[in-house]
C-alpha cells in the first residue's frame, strides 16, 4: 500500500499552502497588535526623543483613561451613535425587506438598486451627505426655502450634529440589514402564512406570530454586525462634523485618531485604541458564541 506516502505528501502540501498566509498574517496583523500594546505602555510622543522606549510607568496611560472626560464622553457618543444607528437600520431594513419580499421580476430587478448606498466608497457617502448638509447648495435647504421654512445648520448644531451623523450612517447601512432580513424572509415557507390566513388571522397577526419569530435571529445577528462595524463611521464624522461642535460627535475612534495624528500623543492614543479593541473583540466573541450555539441547536 502506498497510502502513507500519499497522506504524507498531502500533509506536506497543506502545511506548504498555509505557510505564506501565516507569515503574512503574522507580519501585518499580529506584529502590529503587539507593537500597539507595547506603545500603549509608553508616553510616546513623536516630538519627544526616547519617549518610545520609556517603560518607567507602563500603566500610566491606562490609569489616566477613567479620569479623561473626552475619553468618557467619546464612549457615550459612540454608545448613542451605535444604539440609534443599529435600531434604525434594523427596523427600517426589516420594513424594506417586508415591502420587497414579493415574487415579481420588477422587484427582483429593483432590489439591486437598493444596495447602492452600502457598496459606495464610505468617503463618497460622506461627500454626498456633506452636500446635503451644506446650506448653500443643498437640495434639502432648497426645498425648505421653497416652502418658506428655515432649516437650522444641522451639522454645526449641538442638538442636531449627532442626529445628522446617525441619519447618514443609517442611509449607508440600511441596505445591509435589508439584505440579511430579505434572505431570511425568503426561507419562510408560504404554507405557514397561508394556513394562518385560512384560520382567519389578519396581516398584523401573521407578521407577529409567523414572520417575526422566523426572522428574530437574523435581526439580532445583523444588528450585532452593525454594532461592531458602527465604530468605523470615521469618514462621516471626519467630513461632516470633525467630532464637533465641541465634542458632541467625537466617538472614541475619532478621539484616538486626533490624539495620534493631530496632537502627537501616540502612546496615550494606543492605550485608547487597545481598550477599544478589547471592547470590539468582546462583542465579536459573543457573536461567535451565539453563532455556534445556533448551529448546535439547528
Amino acid at each position: 500500500m502506498n497510502q502513507g506516502g500519499i497522506d504524507g505528501e498531502r500533509r506536506a502540501f497543506i502545511a506548504f499552502a498555509l505557510t505564506p498566509s501565516l507569515i503574512v498574517l503574522f507580519a501585518v496583523a499580529v506584529l502590529p497588535a503587539i507593537y500597539l500594546v507595547v506603545t500603549s505602555l509608553t508616553p510616546f510622543q513623536l516630538t519627544a526623543p526616547g519617549s518610545a522606549t520609556d517603560f518607567g510607568a507602563p500603566l500610566r496611560n491606562y490609569g489616566l483613561l477613567p479620569g479623561d472626560p473626552r475619553f468618557v464622553n467619546s464612549l457615550a457618543v459612540q454608545a448613542k451613535l451605535s444604539f440609534w444607528g443599529v435600531l434604525f437600520q434594523v427596523l427600517l431594513g426589516m420594513l424594506l425587506a417586508l415591502l420587497l419580499n414579493v415574487p415579481s421580476r420588477f422587484v427582483e430587478f429593483a432590489r439591486t438598486f437598493f444596495l447602492i448606498p452600502m457598496v459606495l466608497p464610505p468617503i463618497v457617502v460622506a461627500v454626498i451627505w456633506k452636500l446635503i448638509y451644506t446650506p448653500d447648495i443643498s437640495p434639502l435647504y432648497y426645498a425648505a426655502q421653497a416652502l418658506h421654512f428655515t432649516l437650522p445648520a444641522l451639522t454645526s448644531s449641538v442638538d442636531f450634529a449627532l442626529t445628522a451623523i446617525i441619519i447618514a450612517d443609517t442611509w449607508e447601512w440600511l441596505p445591509f440589514t435589508f439584505l440579511m432580513v430579505l434572505a431570511a424572509l425568503q426561507t419562510i415557507p408560504d404554507e405557514y402564512s397561508e394556513a394562518a390566513l385560512v384560520d382567519g388571522a389578519n396581516r398584523l397577526q401573521i407578521f407577529w406570530y409567523v414572520t417575526l419569530p422566523f426572522i428574530t435571529p437574523i435581526l439580532v445577528i445583523s444588528g450585532m454586525f452593525r454594532l461592531i462595524d458602527s465604530v468605523k463611521a470615521f469618514p462621516l464624522i471626519f467630513l461632516l462634523t470633525s467630532g464637533g461642535p465641541g465634542t458632541v460627535t467625537e466617538v472614541t475612534n475619532y478621539y484616538a485618531y486626533l490624539l495620534a495624528f493631530d496632537t502627537n500623543e501616540i502612546g496615550y492614543s494606543s492605550a485608547v485604541t487597545v481598550v477599544m479593541l478589547l471592547l470590539v473583540a468582546g462583542i465579536s466573541l459573543g457573536l461567535v458564541w451565539m453563532g455556534r450555539r445556533r448551529e448546535a441547536m439547528a
Partner: protein
C-alpha cells in the same frame, strides 16, 4: 390561494417600492447630476433640474493631479488583491481539507483582524513605515490592505473548496498525480467563479479605503478618495470637481458590485458567526 397570499405584487406595493427607491437614491442621484453641471448651474437657485450637461468637471479632473491618484488607487487595490489571493487561496484550500484542531483558533484570529477598527492598525503601521521609509508609497498601502484582504480571501474561499468533492482528488491521487498537480489542475478550475467574486470584493475593500490612505500617504501615493476630499480646501470648495471626483471613485464600485451581488453578504460578514 395566491389571491390570499400576503406576498403579492399588487400595483399599490409596486408604487410604494418605486417611491421608496427614488427617495433612498435621491442623495446619490443629486451628486451624480451635480457632476455634469457648470459652477454657475451648481450655485443657481432654484436648482435647474433640466440643464445642458457639461463634461468640464471631468475634463479638468483629467488634467489635474486627480488622474495620478486614480492610478494610485487602481495600482494599490489590484496589487493588494493579487497578493491576498496568492497567499490566501492555497491557505483556504488547506483549511478546507485540514481537520486539525487549530482550525477554530485560526478562524477566530481571522475574525479579530476583520473586526478590528482601522486605527488599531494605523498607529503601528504609521510608526513602522516612518522608520523603514514606506510612508507615502504604493507598497506601504498594498501591505496594509493585505491585513484585511487576506483574511477575507481565506474566509470567502473556504466554502468554495468545501464544495469540491474529495473523492475527485482521491481518484487522481490514486492514479499517481501529485497533490500539487491535483490542486492546480483539478481543484482550482472548479472554484474559479469563487476566486473571481473574492477578487472583486478584495478590490472593492481596498478601493473604498479612506482612513489608511489618509494617514499613510501624502502626495506620491495619494489615492482617489483622499484626492476628492482635498478639493475641499481653504480657498473654497470646488463642488463641481468634488461631485465629478466622487462619481469617478464610485464608478468601478457600482459596476463590480453588481457582478458579485450574490456574494455581497458573505463578503461583508466575512469572519463572523460561523467560527
Amino acid at each position: 390561494m395566491s389571491e390570499l397570499s400576503a406576498r403579492h405584487a399588487t400595483p399599490g406595493r409596486l408604487v410604494a417600492i418605486s417611491i421608496t427607491l427614488l427617495v433612498l437614491l435621491s442623495p446619490f442621484l443629486w451628486l451624480l447630476q451635480m457632476s455634469f453641471k457648470s459652477n454657475d448651474q451648481i450655485l443657481q437657485f432654484p436648482p435647474p433640474l433640466i440643464f445642458t450637461p457639461t463634461l468640464e468637471n471631468y475634463i479638468s479632473l483629467w488634467h489635474s493631479a486627480f488622474s495620478a491618484s486614480f492610478v494610485n488607487s487602481l495600482l494599490s487595490a489590484s496589487l493588494s488583491t493579487a497578493l491576498a489571493l496568492l497567499c490566501g487561496v492555497p491557505a483556504a484550500y488547506a483549511l478546507s481539507r485540514w481537520a486539525g484542531s487549530g482550525k477554530h483558533g485560526l478562524s477566530f484570529a481571522i475574525l479579530v483582524t476583520r473586526m478590528a477598527p482601522p486605527i488599531a492598525f494605523t498607529i503601528p503601521f504609521f510608526l513602522f513605515y516612518r522608520w523603514i521609509g514606506l510612508l507615502d508609497t504604493i507598497t506601504g498601502l498594498v501591505l496594509v490592505y493585505t491585513s484585511f484582504n487576506l483574511p477575507l480571501v481565506i474566509w470567502m474561499m473556504q466554502p468554495f473548496f468545501d464544495t469540491v468533492p474529495i473523492s475527485l482528488e482521491e481518484a487522481a491521487l490514486v492514479d499517481g498525480a501529485r497533490t500539487r498537480t491535483v490542486f492546480t489542475k483539478i481543484v482550482l478550475p472548479m472554484v474559479t467563479p469563487g476566486i473571481a467574486a473574492t477578487a472583486i470584493l478584495c478590490f472593492l475593500y481596498a478601493w473604498n479605503d479612506f482612513f489608511f490612505a489618509l494617514i499613510l500617504t501624502r502626495t506620491n501615493a495619494r489615492t482617489a478618495p483622499v484626492a476628492v476630499v482635498n478639493f475641499m480646501n481653504y480657498e473654497g470648495w470646488e463642488w463641481g470637481k468634488i461631485a465629478a471626483g466622487g462619481s469617478l471613485v464610485m464608478a468601478p464600485v457600482l459596476i463590480f458590485s453588481l457582478a458579485v451581488r450574490r456574494y455581497l453578504v458573505s463578503g461583508l460578514t466575512a469572519g463572523a458567526v460561523k467560527g
